[in-house]
């Protein structure tokens, strides 16, 4: 049995591969210039400081080179002049699905969003291209003082909280794509959880790209005040186009003393999407930030969620699953910056490479010399399905000083022919056996996702294989 030629694995991405025609009221046109940015600022009615923030970011974006000296040269295939940076039917999201324009509503219904909202969510924001079409929070949660709105509404209605933290966790010039996002950002969530409030059910955002040759640049800022707890989940899909789609988000989390934030992502972009996202959290004393990140879709994803542990006993965690199929490159990882004593961080990353798919892990763990009692644990495991598949690991660990501990484990494995034969001998088809083995590999991590998502995830990872027979 030659595993190189025999296995043809298809992943079910059909769920998001459809689109309806939409008339856009606002369209910034194709290409990026100061005019584009002023257009976006005008449409959104930005205050002056935001307009200046955007223009400053635009200049930083222009100045910064593509990071191809360390990252994939595939980035050179993004033609910024051929992308549309802002498309919307209006800047105000609806509070009821009945008011959402028909084709947009139909899109989200097909993706199951209103149904999920009824079943288990505390609030939903549904972004369609550049703006949220729908945004709502359950009444009881709103009455606890929880704010859950889009970024534009957040900066207009809650400037005192928004301005204090916006762009503070991830500076504009952090990287070329954080600068791009800062220049043209639109949509995304603004969340504030008051002290001591524990939001029982998750808040969810769903990001939908509908237009061709489009760039989506949502901006999310979540602030969990002292002793509060919140879980945020995001999902995303886009129809498959021949042309390039760009998704470049910036997500900033702030966990004040004793707060807990869990941020769950199931990324299922179509395989023409460049997904270049910057995500970072700031954890104060005894606060906890946990990124649970799953990347299944996109053409190239570059994403390294990070936690800066600024307060004593703060805790950071990244749980990451990446699945790279034919033609895909999942370049993911984690950054853990220890900036106080007794801070602990944990990174568990599992990747699966199929066919010509490539998975890369990049990790950064930084513990400076003057700190005491810091701990990091890093585990990264890669599974290769075919001989063509590729996985790379680039861990950077700088742990200094005494009394700090760091543990790093990495493994690369393949599903062996013998393992598949064993399963087949029990009557399980080759495709189902492969699927069982892959699900088994990520099983311990999938269980960390909320139940509703782990079911979805299992289905997504369900590989359909066609053997040579039949």
């Amino acid at each position: 049995m030659n595993t190189e030629t025999k296995h043809d694995i298809a992943i079910d991405r059909s769920i998001g591969d459809f689109r309806y025609d939409i008339d856009y009221e606002f369209d910034a046109g194709t290409g990026l210039s100061e005019r584009t940015i002023n257009y976006i600022s005008d449409v959104k009615g930005d205050p002056d400081w935001i307009r200046e923030f955007r223009l400053d970011a635009y200049r930083k974006f222009i100045d910064k080179p593509m990071p191809t000296h360390w990252a994939s040269h595939d980035l050179d295939n993004i033609v910024f002049d051929k992308i549309r940076y802002y498309l919307s039917q209006g800047t105000t999201p609806k509070r009821s699905w009945d008011e959402v324009p028909e084709n947009v509503k139909r899109t989200f219904e097909r993706l199951g969003i209103p149904e999920q909202e009824r079943k288990f969510l505390a609030g939903v924001e549904a972004q369609f291209d550049s703006e949220a079409a729908y945004s709502n929070i359950k009444k009881a949660v709103g009455e606890q003082g929880v704010i859950f709105v889009g970024s534009t509404e957040g900066l207009h209605k809650h400037p005192e909280i928004f301005r204090r933290w916006f762009g503070k966790v991830i500076p504009t010039g952090d990287n070329k794509f954080s600068a791009l996002n800062s220049a043209v950002f639109s949509g995304g969530s603004f969340i504030y959880v008051p002290p001591g409030v524990k939001v029982k059910h998750p808040l969810q955002a769903y990001f939908r790209i509908n237009a061709e040759s489009f760039g989506q640049f949502e901006r999310t800022l979540i602030i969990a005040d002292e002793g509060s707890e919140v879980m945020y989940m995001e999902g995303c899909t886009a129809p498959k186009f021949e042309t390039t789609t760009l998704h470049s988000a910036v997500v900033e989390l702030v966990a004040l003393p004793g707060a807990k934030i869990q941020y769950v992502t199931v990324q299922n972009w179509s395989p023409n999407v460049f997904n270049l996202v910057t995500k970072r959290g700031l954890a104060h004393e005894e606060a906890e930030i946990k990124w649970i990140d799953c990347n299944i879709g996109s053409r190239l994803t570059m994403k390294y969620p990070g936690v800066v542990m600024r307060g004593r006993k703060a805790r950071g965690e990244v749980i990451s699953i990446a699945l790279a199929s034919d033609g895909q490159h999942q370049d993911t990882g984690a950054k853990m910056i220890h900036a106080a004593d007794e801070t602990t961080s944990n990174i568990v990353s599992k990747s699966i490479s199929i066919g010509t798919g490539r998975a890369t892990y990049r990790g950064l763990v930084h513990v400076p010399k003057h700190l005491k009692g810091c701990k990091n644990n890093t585990e990264c495991d890669a599974l290769l399905i075919n001989a063509h598949s590729r996985t790379d690991t680039y861990p950077t660990i700088s742990v200094r000083g005494q009394g700090n501990a760091c543990q790093h484990e990495a493994s690369v494995s393949q599903i062996s022919e013998e393992e598949i034969f064993y399963m087949q001998q029990r009557g399980i088809s080759e495709g189902a056996a492969m699927s069982l083995a892959v699900n088994g590999f990520v099983n311990d991590l999938v269980q960390q996702f909320p139940m509703e998502y782990s079911v979805e995830l299992k289905r997504l990872i369900d590989l359909e294989m066609e053997g040579s027979v039949g």
Partner: protein, 251 residues
């Protein structure tokens, strides 16, 4: 109704390992194949199950009159052939309960869903009988199991899948006497008029507990002698030299 092997020849690369094996296991009977290491016993088991490493050059394997050689390994399994592995594979992250469930589900028509409650009741009953602790249902298949646990888990799978024909490949190897008894009891409990067993073993001791109807001796890729259970006792007492000599004379 039988498991019929006809003049089976198989090789790896240039090397021929099975040189024309013929035997028949009728339903209701237990046959043993004994032979020294390297005689081709385990190869026979793998070839029957459809292991991709071997090339078949001639012969046939028939289940109840139907050839299975054109079938994929999973189709052969669903057609009624079970192989208890000498070295069962680990399947990390897949629990025994989910594994067996997938195996049973694969035997149902597409639209039919396995009755989960009935399944667990049956699984627990079989586990109790084989003295497999119940917490094993949530352990990954064979991962971190002792040798004895792996072999008991193979018999548990046999009991759950209820095949028409079961081939046990060196199921006794690596077992202490208590574990051997448990496994043997498990096999004996599964002996039935509608089931045939082919027990491959190096030593006679398993055959004290699972008493065979027929014993075959394999030398250099051929069955050279068949007899009743007394043959196994003679091999144990005198070794294989005399059968090899007789086989050489006959050739």
């Amino acid at each position: 109704m039988s498991l019929l092997i006809q003049n089976l020849r198989a090789s790896i690369g240039e090397r021929e390992i099975l040189k024309g094996v013929s035997l028949e296991v009728p339903k209701g009977e237990v046959h043993a194949i004994m032979g020294k290491n390297g005689s081709g016993k385990s190869t026979l088991a793998k070839v029957m199950a459809g292991h991709p490493t071997y090339e078949l050059t001639s012969g046939d394997v028939l289940l109840d009159g139907e050839s299975i050689l054109e079938m994929e390994p999973d189709e052969r399994a669903r057609a009624g052939l079970f192989l208890a592995f000498q070295y069962p594979m680990e399947v990390p992250g897949v629990t025994i309960a989910n594994f067996l469930r997938a195996a049973l589900q694969a035997r149902l028509p597409e639209a039919e869903e396995l009755d989960a409650v009935a399944y667990y009741q049956r699984l627990y009953a079989k586990m109790d009988a084989l003295k497999v602790p119940r917490e094993f249902t949530s352990r990954s298949v064979n991962e971190g199991f002792s040798g004895g646990e792996k072999k008991r888990c193979e018999i548990l799978q046999l009991a759950m899948l209820e095949p028409a024909y079961a081939v046990l490949d060196e199921t006794d190897s690596g077992l202490d006497i208590d574990a051997l008894k448990v496994v043997a009891e498990g096999v004996n409990a599964l002996r039935a008029p509608d089931r045939g067993f082919l027990v491959i073993t190096h030593y006679q001791r398993l055959l004290n507990h699972v008493v065979p109807d027929v014993v075959h001796v394999m030398v250099d890729g051929r069955i050279v002698r068949s007899g009743d259970k007394e043959l196994a006792l003679r091999l144990e007492a005198e070794g294989y030299d005399w059968v090899e000599r007789e086989a050489a004379l006959a050739a």
